[in-house]
């Protein structure tokens, strides 16, 4: 249907309500359609510096349904870096009347002592919204920081007939761009010379609406967008001035944010490091205790504010405050570790929310996070201060597989890839012992967690309500049905690697079925992946996992005296190149057991793997329906 739409596209000013019927035909189930979305940038030189202005035009036609089905609310944002110049919005009614929006709402600072100024949102409602009405918005800005030009995303929550980015660049400026997203084949790129300027046009016609999935990675992984940036420019003497031509330029910019902090260690911080490391023989044990102290004592509180969003605070200040954002955590870690004799570096990194690489697009937007990297016994170790329960030696899960830009000194830096933690280090081993008693099914649990699984539990333990731990532990342990009742629990913390063993005793009424002389009981207390069949081939957007892992669940049932096992379900193993499972039944003396094992081998599952994934589930689900039976001798 969408393919036939090209004829529908009309130049901006001739689009009107006349096309309502044809738009309805093309988008039979959409309530509104973006007729035209054009974002224009104008990049020139002013006082020998790049100077950027931008403007955006949007035209939304309301198509189907009644007034109350549209959210007429609309908005645009602006900030210190992208200052608002003009804005204007109106509705063109089906009978061609123009109704201007007169009320705009913006959050404004009123207090003089407040310097904070971040992104602001201005919102308004289009008046007289009904089928055939067209909402028009026009906004212009001046972009104060040309290092920080936002990428242009073509798609929105409604389909767009024309979605377009236009960048006009004066002849002395060299522009670079990169198309990103799952499928960029529909984006056409043209470069046109006009007077002394080059005009880059990126156009996506008939761009479908965004789809959202809760388990998808960040938007930038799949939504089609253009990243564009100034590579270099010629100054008035004709010299080429590098701007963001490569990682060296970016490093120079990044280094400027950290060069003047942590000139001197504060006495208090010194005292803390001295007392933490007094008994440490090795550099590693010093590093461990310092990392542990920061994790335990500096709380993550983030206030992004203008340039403060890039400059870490002084380690001494972070120490006094006992809180900080990622940059502050990197600052205090780096300072404390260096003072203790451990070589430590400020490090910029992008989290797994984003796909960008320093080597592909050397831009500030590649990194949205800062950590500390140490060099210990010839090996680089990544320490993320914002993760209070991360194990020393493991990167935070959200930085795995990402490029880190490590600041060695003013001139030198390294780009290293953060490793992915092997699945053998992120494990769950969970054993349940079941006994049939006259009062119903009773059981014991022992659950051992390592790696990121253990970190997660440590994180939860920090914030669970101590008055009501039994409820939280019940949720952690629940199996069989929701009638699972936790009677007691015990937590065994295994330092220093943050393993943890949780154990408990429970009852599970109404789970085992007793009819006449027989018991029926399904040993699949867990039915993982039920309801997780992927909508293939419809879905194209990948699925993201926090880490790769190995999980093993053993369920043991004691055959009561006087009973014998009359049916033991068959075992089965199934693996393909994407995923797999092992389901093993066994009988050993008076115990019957089921062992369920699952490995997760990838951080991201892409659409080419969905079919194989579903195939595994197709083999797995019938096994969940196998119930064993016991009969009286």
């Amino acid at each position: 249907m969408l393919g036939g739409l090209a004829c529908l596209f009309l130049p901006f000013d001739t689009v009107n309500a006349q096309s309502l019927d044809s738009i309805r035909k093309a988008f039979p189930n959409e309530k509104a359609v973006m007729l035209n979305h054009v974002y224009e940038f104008n990049i020139s030189l002013k006082n020998n510096q790049p100077y950027v202005e931008s403007e955006e035009t949007q035209q939304i036609e309301y198509v189907l349904g009644t007034a109350n089905m549209y959210s007429g609310q609309y908005g645009f944002s602006h900030s210190d870096f992208q200052q608002l110049i003009t804005y204007d919005a109106y509705t063109r009614t089906p009978d061609d009347k123009k109704l201007k929006v007169s009320e705009f709402k913006t959050s404004i600072d009123k207090e003089s002592f407040v310097f904070y100024d971040d992104v602001k949102q201005t919102t308004f409602n289009f008046p007289a919204v009904e089928p055939g009405a067209v909402g028009n918005l026009h906004v212009s800005w001046v972009n104060k920081e040309p290092h920080l030009l936002s990428p242009f995303y073509f798609s929105a929550n409604i389909p767009a007939i024309n979605s377009e980015l236009k960048v006009t660049v004066s002849k002395d400026i060299s522009l670079k761009y990169r198309l990103m997203g799952l499928d960029t084949s529909k984006i056409t790129v043209s470069v046109e010379k006009k007077h002394r300027d080059l005009i880059y046009t990126f156009q996506y016609k008939n761009c479908p609406a965004d789809k959202s999935y809760g388990d998808a990675p960040g938007f930038s992984w799949y939504s089609p967008h253009v990243i564009f940036y100034i590579e270099n420019y010629k100054d008035d003497k004709g010299n080429t001035v590098p701007f963001l031509s490569n990682a060296d330029d970016l490093y120079r910019l990044n280094y400027s944010y950290i060069k003047s902090i942590n000139q001197q260690i504060s006495p208090e911080l010194k005292h803390i490091v001295d007392s933490l490391t007094a008994k440490s023989a090795s550099l590693e044990s010093k590093a461990r205790s310092i990392y542990g102290w920061v994790q335990g004592n500096i709380k993550y509180v983030a206030f992004e504010d203008g340039m403060g969003g890039f400059v870490p605070r002084d380690a001494g200040l972070v120490c006094n405050r006992r809180f900080g954002d990622c940059k502050d955590m990197a600052s205090i870690l780096t300072e404390m570790l260096n003072y203790a004799g451990v070589t430590a570096y400020f490090t910029w990194i992008g989290t797994r929310d984003m796909p960008y690489k320093f080597s592909e697009t050397p831009l500030p937007m590649v990194s949205n996070h800062m950590i500390c990297t140490i060099l210990l016994n010839g090996k680089y170790i990544f320490l993320d201060g914002t993760d209070p329960t991360c194990v020393f030696g493991m990167p935070s899960s959200m930085t795995q597989d990402k490029e880190a830009m490590i600041s060695i000194n003013e001139k030198e830096y390294k780009i290293l890839k953060v490793p992915v933690i092997e699945k053998d280090r992120n494990t769950v081993t969970d054993t349940t012992w079941l006994e049939l008693t006259p009062a119903g099914l009773k059981g014991k649990i022992k659950k051992t967690l390592t790696g990121y699984y253990a970190s997660d539990i440590y994180g939860k333990l920090m914030y669970w309500d101590k008055k009501n731990m039994i409820q939280d532990m019940k949720d952690e342990f629940e199996r069989g049905t929701n009638k699972f009742h936790l009677d007691t629990f015990y937590i065994d913390k295994k330092q220093p690697n943050n393993e943890i063993i949780l154990s408990g005793e429970f009852s599970l009424p109404d789970y085992a079925k007793n009819i006449g002389n027989d018991y029926y009981l399904n040993l699949n207390l867990f039915r993982f992946y039920e309801g997780e069949k992927i909508d293939y081939p419809e879905r194209k957007i990948p699925i993201e996992y926090n880490f790769i892992s190995k999980r093993k669940y053993v369920t043991m049932l004691k055959v009561p005296d006087g009973y014998k096992l009359t049916y033991l379900p068959p075992s089965k193993t199934y693996h393909n190149n994407v995923f797999g499972f092992d389901m093993q039944y066994a009988q050993n003396g008076s115990w019957v057991s089921l062992t369920q094992q699952f490995d997760n081998n990838q951080l991201m599952l892409t659409s080419d793997q969905f079919e194989a994934w579903n195939k595994v589930l197709q083999n797995l689900f019938p096994l969940y329906k196998e119930t064993l039976s016991l009969s009286k001798n």
């Binding site: 189930n29 109350n68 009904e130």
Partner: protein
């Protein structure tokens, strides 16, 4: 000019400045050397304990006969653990758009005795997901055992009412609540959900209404309970202005009714004429009866006009603007309906309601703030409409606005002048049996006996239908498909939908209470399991997962529901040839509660087998929106009966 006179002039000027800028409002005590409080061991498991919580609302005279309102909150909190640090290391200043910060102080008091004062430069604005902007600052240096002390005073736009919540999830050792004003202004203070007598004294030419509460326990969120409605709450209002000899009570219900009437009927003849044009264009005046008129007008406005609750400018709510822009705020929308109803001669009253999930109108205490939601009441029909809810249609209004008090503005004419007088009485809800959430299903095993074909209808009427109508009407095609899939999966445990249809999804179907029906046919292997040659049918899952209250802490709050309703399920199972059901009696559940001869709640499951059809009949019903504490045990049994039904597994054996 000699030196002496200069000094005189300066002194006078500063005195004047003092008067003009800084009224003599009460100042918060800020001790020089704060000490950490020792906390009773019984609070050891609390994340934090509030040592003291002081709230003060002070009214002062300003120039030009204006009265200003200052709001002060002062808290000292003892922190026990990481959760406590997380909860108090960021302090939010509750500030509306029209308030100014007059004073703010905050400090962390560390176990060693060191204190760290807040640097005002570190106060920031943030925009939260709820769309509001807050001032926020972070408390520095916090560790376990620290205390956080802060206060701020803001100048608000003056209102003579207020509602303060004085209970939280953690205990509060002492709460002091004060309303202060010039001696002539007499405020009344009333506590809700607890009792704390208020005192009224005049000290230093200020009148102080005060109440003090000690040892307020923490309150937890519970299932089927309205936390906001159940927390300790204090309300206040200005009751008298004794200047002169006036003894007239202020801000009465009658006065509110009069004002509301005035505001909603405030439009020009020209505007009235423009609204009247809609009547003739749409032929509403030709409709046979009042109900037809009301419903036609409501349907038209809700389909053609948008409602925006944030639109509160005078111009945006002028009837002419509403008619032109086809969008109205609360006042503008009420005017639009009023003008049309007036033209049609519809007999109506304005009613203002509270939201019983949070607060209710108290007849004895005229807190105008509790009259938040306007609805129309039609005395002839004894029914309501909710103009500000486009998804509700006659006679349905948002359920939490019902079964609670309303302020009825009854029209009264004095010659050519019309106004309204107030009557406080409950806003009745539609009868419980008009709201249903039913299921009709037929289950049949396929020839291989490893899967089921399920033909089922999920049926929604009344209050229960409206969230579903929202979902079906406001979604796009993709979302609708997804929603059908989720709904079906929850009942039939299958994503394998063979066919689906949605009937009567329109909002206009609410008026005749046409059932919204989701009819699906699915093929599912999930409900059937095998044990050797026996078939296990997890019939209990066919009603979808039910809420359980198996492992509960001691109950703190009574039971509150959005609405009473009935859930009737009829499930037919075709028993496969050659098989018999070994345990049909597992289906029998009978858990009911009777009060004064009426079965007010219950879960009853029965069955019969005719030929090869097993027919299961479940009636789960809750007649009330509210069950008191003493009925909680019984309520819990009934909730758990439906959760127990989920566990019923039928064993099908080959006949003998």
């Amino acid at each position: 000019m000699n030196k002496k006179t200069l000094l005189m002039v300066v002194a006078l000027a500063s005195a004047q400045q003092l008067l003009a800028q800084s009224p003599q409002i009460e100042k918060e005590a800020w001790t020089d050397k704060p000490a950490i409080h020792s906390i009773d061991a019984k609070y050891g498991k609390e994340a934090a304990v509030v040592i003291s919580d002081t709230r003060r609302i002070e009214f002062t005279d300003e120039s030009k006969n204006e009265v200003a309102e200052y709001y002060t909150i002062h808290k000292i909190v003892h922190i026990n653990d990481d959760r406590g640090i997380e909860g108090f290391n960021k302090i939010y200043l509750g500030l509306s758009e029209n308030s100014d910060i007059v004073d703010v102080k905050a400090r962390s008091i560390l176990p060693g005795g060191k204190t760290i004062e807040l640097d005002k430069n570190n106060i920031k604005d943030i925009k939260e997901e709820d769309g509001n902007t807050y001032k926020i600052f972070a408390m520095e240096g916090l560790e376990k055992g620290s205390e956080v002390e802060y206060f701020y005073t803001i100048k608000k736009s003056t209102t003579y009412f207020g509602r303060e919540t004085v209970q939280d999830r953690i205990p509060v050792l002492e709460t002091t609540f004060q309303v202060i004003g010039p001696p002539r202004l007499k405020f009344e203070v009333k506590s809700y959900n607890f009792s704390a007598p208020a005192t009224d004294t005049v000290v230093n030419n200020k009148r102080i209404a005060q109440c003090i509460v000690k040892n307020t326990p923490g309150l937890d969120e519970e299932k089927y309970a309205y936390f906001d409605a159940n927390v300790y709450r204090i309300e206040f209002k200005l009751a008298y202005n004794t200047s002169g000899s006036s003894t007239e009570r202020l801000f009465t219900w009658n006065e509110l009714a009069k004002r509301i009437y005035g505001v909603y009927t405030d439009y020009s003849d020209k505007e009235f004429k423009a609204a009247s044009d809609l009547v003739t264009t749409n032929g509403w005046d030709k409709l046979p009866d009042e109900v037809a008129k009301i419903t036609a007008v409501e349907d038209f406005i809700k389909k053609n006009f948008s409602y925006n609750e944030d639109l509160n400018s005078a111009d945006g709510n002028a009837l002419a603007t509403v008619l032109q822009n086809k969008i109205g705020g609360t006042i503008g929308t009420m005017r639009l309906y009023t003008a049309i109803f007036q033209n049609l001669g519809v007999n109506y009253q304005y009613v203002l309601t509270g939201n019983r999930e949070k607060f209710s109108i108290d007849k004895q205490f005229e807190d105008w703030n509790n009259c938040e939601y306007p609805v129309f009441f039609f005395p002839t029909e004894n029914k309501f409409i909710a103009p500000t809810r486009p998804d509700y249609r006659y006679p349905w209004i948002f359920p939490s606005w019902g079964s609670t008090n309303g302020l009825y503005c009854k029209k009264m004419s004095l010659g050519s002048f019309t106004t309204a007088v107030a009557e406080i009485k409950p806003v009745p809800m539609e009868a419980y049996n008009q709201t249903v959430q039913n299921l009709e299903a037929k289950l049949e095993l396929n020839a291989d006996l490893d899967s089921l074909t399920i033909d089922e209808k999920q049926i929604f009427q009344g209050y229960a239908s409206i969230n579903y109508r929202d979902a079906f009407n406001y979604s796009n095609d993709d979302q609708k498909k997804q929603f059908i899939k989720e709904l079906t999966k929850s009942m039939a445990n299958s994503e394998n939908i063979l066919s689906s249809e949605v009937l009567n999804q329109g909002f206009e179907d609410e008026t005749p209470n046409k059932p919204l029906i989701l009819h699906t046919k699915t093929k599912s292997g999930e409900l059937i399991e095998r044990a050797g040659n026996k078939l296990l049918l997890k019939i209990g899952m066919a009603i979808g997962p039910q809420v359980e209250m198996y492992q509960e802490k001691p109950r703190q709050e009574p039971v509150d529901f959005e609405f009473g309703h009935i859930e009737e399920r009829k499930i037919d199972l075709v028993i496969p040839d050659g098989y018999t059901i070994s345990n049909p009696n597992d289906l029998k559940i009978d858990q009911t509660y009777t009060e004064n001869g009426e079965e007010t709640m219950g879960f009853v499951c029965s069955y019969e087998i005719k030929g090869n059809i097993l027919s299961i009949h479940i009636v789960e019903q809750y007649h009330r929106e509210y069950y008191p504490m003493e009925q909680f045990t019984q309520f819990r049994k009934i909730i758990n009966s439906s959760a127990d039904f989920n566990k019923v597994v039928l064993v099908l054996e080959k006949k003998g």
